[in-house]
Symmetry: C2
Subunit: 465 residues, 2 copies
């Protein structure tokens, strides 16, 4: 929702998957609606309906078209597909699979996330022990191939009329199943080494201890598990890379590189055993430093092409970047991120952020029960600047890592007296960040300027002698 | 809006008069709608329409009844009256005045806030120099009398059927005009003494300096002004006290004291020259410590009747108090205040707040221009505990007052090195308060508990070996 609103989690309030975005929030699709371009979604999105908000607005009974648009984030669903369950009617993928010979009522479960062993016996890809075997779906019919096909067909169909496409791949992600040849394209020694030390387990932070008791972490703490998954994950990365190549060939063929802003990003990494963890939460770089590649078609960006920006980006920057690229109003009273185009265009920017913040609410996780906490008491904030990473937790001691001397974040200095001054500085940054959240979202800054000190023009004359 | 939502200004976002409340916020009227009681408003309210939110919801065209309810905070306007302008059609007061002999197209301007001197010459009550003269309206037809009449008539009419009434008096307030006999019922020596010292003007905080340049402050800095206004203001207090007596007589006569929760409060004080200031902003006790009287009809509250609670109340406590009194759902995922009923009922409460926070956004004031700041850069937060009052300002040094040694807040210790440890503690409280704001408003805590760690029940099996 931060990618969709340009606002922080604290501001938009969707603190977890399946937490509806308040109907008072505005998303990318709504910003782009009525700007003369088609809006399409292909793939995964976490937009869900704010049922109570919709009900408050009487929208179900009285305005079902608008209610439906809220349910899709104002995009048109070419093919909505989340890859966590057997797909339903929202996706054409099951019918596509059956049309290509995957004869099953549940082709996703039986072929896409199933594998077959040497003797052609099927096994579920939900079980990580099985994922060194290839998927039972052919690569050309796999999720990544299928969704790329949808995107290419749509882009070709739109031709030279303006469009915006949210193409959202599931993989790489669990179930960690790859089709041939990607299932064993890589060997373990070609993967990033495990980043963990036994010293991390001594005096571990209470929240980390609780996380490590969760099933996915307990399993990934075993080398047998991480050794099996990491090469497959690497294969899935290779697969999306190959299909993006197909997509970009299409864009090039159609001349779209001349007029299309492309933002490639990911919403989380995956520990795969780093720091004795699985899944994607907490604040280590493994899961926080996600891809962020911006292609700015403007010739003004030619000077920075192929370069790597070292300043801090955040997912809240994407909405303002898109609005800026289309010369749409910036909605500064609401949007908290900043356009990246001054950076892609090498313009002098002297006041870029010196630190970046990330947030977690673990209320929905087993860790909350382990720690005996209530919903709303389970929040954490990371503040990271060029050198330090600080984590503030409700109810627990902070964490601190010195990324200069400890780039892999093995030594938590959060309880070390010597570093109290550093923690205070970082904590103050967090306060600054909280204090700068955008709350007056119903009125533009321009309107504030116009009406500043204007009470006399409204016939109100207080304070006159 | 904090009185109406049970949420802080940072959370609900209505940072000033005329800033619409986001349509995603829920107000007292909406909480009480459909609970089997009539809802009525008599008097002043700052509810205005979130035009952009309404437009986003297509409510103007498609659902005008609901749009209208948002415009009144879901209350039925018996008589909406703000007392800052000549009233329009929203109030019956102009017609009432004309029916009682106040013959004018603008009876409010010509009679209610006009005064007459010894020679029966009229003068505008907007000019503070005139307000020692009596209003040209008779006391029985004055704003406070009229609105009390509306309330009494409504309460009598409702009889024993359940109702909720928001009775909102304008006075005491500018224009500081009182009808006979209240215009000179008090002499200056019966008023609270001016709380100001010349030492406050040396090295004053930049935001205070900017405020003191505003017209109302510059005028109230002159004793001639405060000496003239304070006795009239005291008279206006006496007047509302007298009319509340009439109201309570009615309640008593009808037996309503047996079944009616009464909350008497005010939304701001008035400096009237204290601290060389006029109007109602900033964080001095003069304007922050407002009346808060709760009458709880339950016999369980008999033990605390007539007592004065020393713990910190906040305006965000009123909505939860009302919901609690009516045994309605507490909406803990959204409401940030706490019910006061455990206190009125003398129940053991061990975790009551140790400090209270107040917020200011001065973007709409002349002070912003004086200081050369942009909208959104003009925020301040007060943190007050039993001993200290700390103010954090965006862009400026903090303020600090030691209320034990300096109860009238003359000595700002915000730049005094000796008090840095105190300021750090208070600043940390502010961070705690910010971190506990309610953001996940679309989903109840109960729902979080029900769905915690339930992914397997949804067919999602990540992390299994």
């Amino acid at each position: 929702m931060s990618y969709y609103t340009g606002r922080t989690m604290s501001s938009h309030g969707a603190t977890w998957n399946r937490v509806p975005l308040n109907i008072g929030e505005v998303t990318l699709g709504e910003y782009l609606a009525n700007t003369g371009r088609s809006l399409a979604l292909a793939g995964k999105t976490h937009v869900i309906v704010d049922d109570r908000g919709i009900e408050r607005m009487n929208l179900i009974a009285r305005n079902s078209e608008l209610a439906a648009r809220f349910a899709t984030g104002h995009f048109v669903e070419l093919d909505r597909y989340d890859g966590h369950h057997e797909p339903g009617k929202e996706s054409g993928y099951p019918a596509y699979l059956r049309a290509h010979g995957y004869d099953s009522a549940r082709p996703w479960s039986d072929f896409v996330i199933s594998v077959e062993d040497d003797r052609l016996q099927p096994h579920s890809g939900w079980k990580m022990r099985n994922v060194h075997w290839p998927a039972r779906v052919a690569e050309q019919h796999s999720e990544t191939a299928y969704m790329t096909d949808q995107a290419i067909r749509h882009i070709e169909h739109e031709g030279d009329t303006p469009w915006a496409l949210h193409l959202s791949y599931v993989k790489p992600h669990w179930p960690y199943v790859a089709p041939r040849p990607y299932h064993n394209l890589y060997s373990l020694d070609q993967c990033l080494p495990l980043q963990r030390r036994h010293t991390e387990l001594a005096d571990a932070h209470p929240v980390l201890r609780a996380y490590r008791e969760q099933e996915e972490c307990a399993n990934f703490a075993r080398e047998e598990v991480s050794n099996k998954i990491r090469p497959v994950y690497q294969g899935l990365i290779q697969q999306i890379d190959d299909h993006l190549g197909r997509l970009f060939d299409t864009l090039e063929k159609l001349g779209r590189f001349d007029d299309t802003l492309i933002v490639f990003c990911a919403d989380h990494g995956d520990f795969l055993g780093d720091h004795w963890l699985g899944e994607k939460e907490l604040f280590y770089d493994t899961v926080q430093r996600v891809p962020m590649i911006v292609y700015d078609p403007s010739p003004r960006a030619d000077g920075t092409r192929g370069t790597c920006e070292q300043r801090f980006m955040s997912n809240i920057d994407i909405v303002p970047t898109v609005l800026d690229a289309l010369s749409l109003p910036g909605c500064n009273e609401r949007i908290e991120g900043r356009s990246l185009l001054p950076l892609t265009r090498g313009e002098p920017v002297t006041d870029w952020r010196e630190f970046v913040v990330s947030e977690l609410d673990y209320s929905f996780r087993q860790a909350r029960l382990t720690l005996g906490r209530q919903p709303g008491e389970c929040r954490g904030w990371m503040v990271r600047n060029a050198r330090w990473k600080y984590v503030h937790w409700l109810g627990y001691r902070p964490q601190l890592f010195d990324l200069a001397s400890d780039p892999h974040e093995y030594a938590d200095l959060g309880a070390d007296r010597e570093y109290e001054p550093i923690r205070q500085v970082m904590h103050r940054h967090l306060g600054e960040w909280m204090a700068e959240s955008k709350t007056r979202v119903t009125l533009s800054d321009e309107r504030v300027r116009e009406t500043t000190n204007n009470h006399k023009s409204k016939g109100v004359f207080f304070g006159e002698w």
